[in-house]
Symmetry: C2
Subunit: 339 residues, 2 copies
Amino acid sequence: MSTRPPSMRDVASRAGVSLSTVSRVMRGAPGVAPQVRERVRNAADELSYVVSRNASGLVTGRTGRVSVVVPYLKPWFFGSVLAGISEVLREADLDMLVYQVGDLRPQPGWTRTLPLRRNCDAVITVSMDLSEEECHRLDDVGVPLVLTGQRVPGRASVFIDDQAGAAGATRHLLNLGHTRIAYIGSRGDSWYSGSSMNRLRGYQAAMGKAGLTPWSLIKPPGHEGGEHAMGELLSDLDPPTAVLAEFDDIAMGAHRALRRSGIGVPEAISLMGFDNHEGAAILDLTTVDQSPADIGAAAGRLAVEITEGTRPRDTHLEMPTQIIPRQSTSAPRSVRGLS
Amino acid sequence: MSTRPPSMRDVASRAGVSLSTVSRVMRGAPGVAPQVRERVRNAADELSYVVSRNASGLVTGRTGRVSVVVPYLKPWFFGSVLAGISEVLREADLDMLVYQVGDLRPQPGWTRTLPLRRNCDAVITVSMDLSEEECHRLDDVGVPLVLTGQRVPGRASVFIDDQAGAAGATRHLLNLGHTRIAYIGSRGDSWYSGSSMNRLRGYQAAMGKAGLTPWSLIKPPGHEGGEHAMGELLSDLDPPTAVLAEFDDIAMGAHRALRRSGIGVPEAISLMGFDNHEGAAILDLTTVDQSPADIGAAAGRLAVEITEGTRPRDTHLEMPTQIIPRQSTSAPRSVRGLS
C-alpha cells in the first residue's frame, strides 16, 4: 500500500463516509455538513489524496470533459461566458477544454483541426455563428453540440432575441423624444454575423414603426469602428441627437470621439450601447444587458443534461435581455427646451 | 475499413505526404506549402477525417493536455493570458484545460479539488499568488508547475517587475512636476497580493527618493475601491494634483468619480493606472503596459519546454513593462502657470 497512490475509497474509509460524500467534498459541491466536510478534508490531507480524473472515466466510459470553442479569448464577453460554463461543469464534476479558433476560422476545414473526437463528452460553441455545414462537421465528432449566441432549428441553442433587444433600445430613444437616431453597426470583412443582422433589423423595424427613416453606418467591429462612425456623424449637415451602437465596444469608441471633441453626452448627443460591458458602467453608458455568465451557465447545464439524456438535443433556451438606463441618454435639447 | 474511423495515416497516404505534414496541417501550424496544405485538407475531407487526441497519447504516454489554473475568468486580464497560452499550446499540438478556482480558494485544501493528477502534462497558474505550501500541494500532482504573476525562487516563474513598474510610473508624475501624488492600492479581505505589495513599495520608494512623503489609500480591489478612494481624496483639505492607481480598474473607478464631480482630467488632477486594460485606451488613461498575452505565451512555451526536458524547471522569465503616456497626465496647474 505504501507506493499505490491513495484512492477515493481510502479517503472514504478513513473518514467513515460514503464514496459519493467524498466526491462531493472534493469537487466543492454543496449539501455536505461542515463537520463531515472537515473530516473528509482531514482524511484526504493525511493520505495526501489528490483527485484523479482517470478513475471516473474508466467507470462511465466518458471522458469527463466538455470542449468549449470560442472565436477569441481576449474580449471580455468570452471570459464571462467561460466563467458561467466553468462553474456548472465543476459542479457536475466535469473538466473544461477551451479552444480558441482565431485565425483558423477562415480556413474551410477549421473544424477538423480541433481534436474533439474521443476527447470530450460534449461541445459548446460560443458566438461562433456556425453555418449549417460547420454544424454538420461538428456532428461528425459524435458528441452533443450546444450552440450559444445563435438559434438553429433542431439544435440545442442558447441565445437572446437580438432583434427585440435592439428594437427596445431604439424605442427607449424614441420615447425620450429623439427622432434623429443613428445606428452604428458592424460587419466582418465580407459577412454580417447573425447577431449583427438581427440587431440592425430590430433598429430598422422600430424606426419604421415610428414612421422614421433608419440611418445606419456599418463599420468593422471594435472601438475604432465606433470612433470613425461618430466622426462621420459629427460632420453631417444635420447630426443625430441620439446614437445606438450595435454593441458596447462600438459605443465606447463613439464616446471617446465625443469626449475628444468636447461634445456633451447626453447634453448634445445621447449614446446607447448593447451588452452591458463592464466598461459601460464606467462610462455611465445606457445599454442592453445580456448577462453572458448566465448564458454560459445555461449552456453548461444544457450540455450536461443532453449528455445524461435528460434533455432533448433540440432544446432552445432564450435568455432575457434588459435595458439598463444610465446617464448617457436623456431627452434631446429641443424637447427639453419645450418642457 | 468501412467502419474503422479514418486515421492520420490514411490521410497521409491519400495525400501522398508524411504523417508529420498531416499533423502540421491539422493543427494549423505554419511551414507547409499552400498546395500541400490544400491536398492534405482535401484528402481529410474525402475521408471525413477528424483529429483524435487519443492516438498521440498512446504513443507518447502523455495526456496531450496542459491545465491552466486561474482565480477568476471574468476579468479581462485572464482572457488575454489564456489567449497567449492557447496559441502556443495549439502550435505544440496540446489541449488547454481551464480551472477557475473562484470561491474555493479560501478553503485550505482547494488544490486537491482540481482533478490534475494523470489528467495533464503540466500546470500553469495565473496570478494565483501561491503560498509555498500551495506550491508543494501542486507538486504532488507530479507534473511540472509554471507560475505566472509571481516570482518564486527555484520554480518556473513568468512575472513582471511590479516594483520597478510602479516606481517608473511615480517618476513619470514626479517628472511632470507633481509633488502631491496620492496612491490608491488594493488588498483582499485580510491579505495583500505579492503584486499589490510590490507596486505599493515601488511607489513608496520613488516618493522617498524624491524626498516626498508617500500618501496611500488601500481599498478593496475593483472600480468601487477607486471611486471611494477618489471621494476621500477630493474631500481632503489639500487634495493631490496627481493620483497613481495600482491597476487600471481602480483608475477607471477614480476616473468616474472625477467625471461625475466635473473635475477635469488632467487639468485639475492627473490620473495614471497600471496594466493597459483595453478600457484605459478608451479613457485616454496613461498607464503601464504589461502585455498579458505575451505573459501567457511565455508561460505556455515554458510549460512545453519543461515537459520536453529542454528547459530547466527553475527558469525565471521577467517580462518587460512600459509606460504608455496618454492624455490623462500632464504638468500640474502651478507648474503650468509658471511656464
